[in-house]
Amino acid sequence: MMNPSKLLKAPIPGENLTVNGKNYAWHRPPQFPEFDDAFEFIIDDSLANQQKLGAAMTLLSNGISALAVVQALMISKVGQGKISPDMSLLLVGPVYKTFTRMMDAAGVEYLSGFDTTEELQAYAEKLKSKDFLAKSTKAIKLTEEQEAEMERITEEAIEEIPVGGLMGAQVGEEVEK
């Protein structure tokens, strides 16, 4: 049952015109009114941020479409007062393109947001079969030079600390003396 006191507290028509118009970040002028500045900000803040990109990749590999991720990103920036809603419409295309290219390069399989029913079904089956994990667990193949370099670095790391001499590390007994 609805609380009758809430009904009485409902906003009266036109109340929105009487409240302070600068209560929220999106009520104030945006921080990045220029397209190029705003695009650079989105790239630096979100797409070049390893932590955020990792989170986005997790979302994509769990069936959230790239379009939904980019839409959420844009709405959050509008909500933070970084860009205006009109600017988000200008930015969403270039950001989507850059984002999907990055995901393609990373080998993440994702839904674009414009998928057909058949594509959705195929993706759902792939999620069920967990085939999408096979790609990410593939071992990285190193060249001979890289392997030799890795061995050299490992040997250096486990090499014993030189003892004795003027500059050598002190051994337990010497320290006691």
Binding site: L90, V92, T98, R101
Partner: protein, 67 residues
Amino acid sequence: MNDLYDAMRQAVSDYMNVDSLSPRSQARVKGIHSKFAYNYDTVDGLIKFEETLEDIEEELEGNDESE
């Protein structure tokens, strides 16, 4: 368009499939972004991964053989 989400969806669709639009719509989509430094072609060339890992491996193998 009902809300900002629909408008964004349409904007992405137009931007990504610009070649399939009518010439007038193409000019509109490309024309809007042509005023900025990050225009259509610049964004297109921002991330290019023409070389895949397989290509690089093939290249390395080719170098080893030539040596």
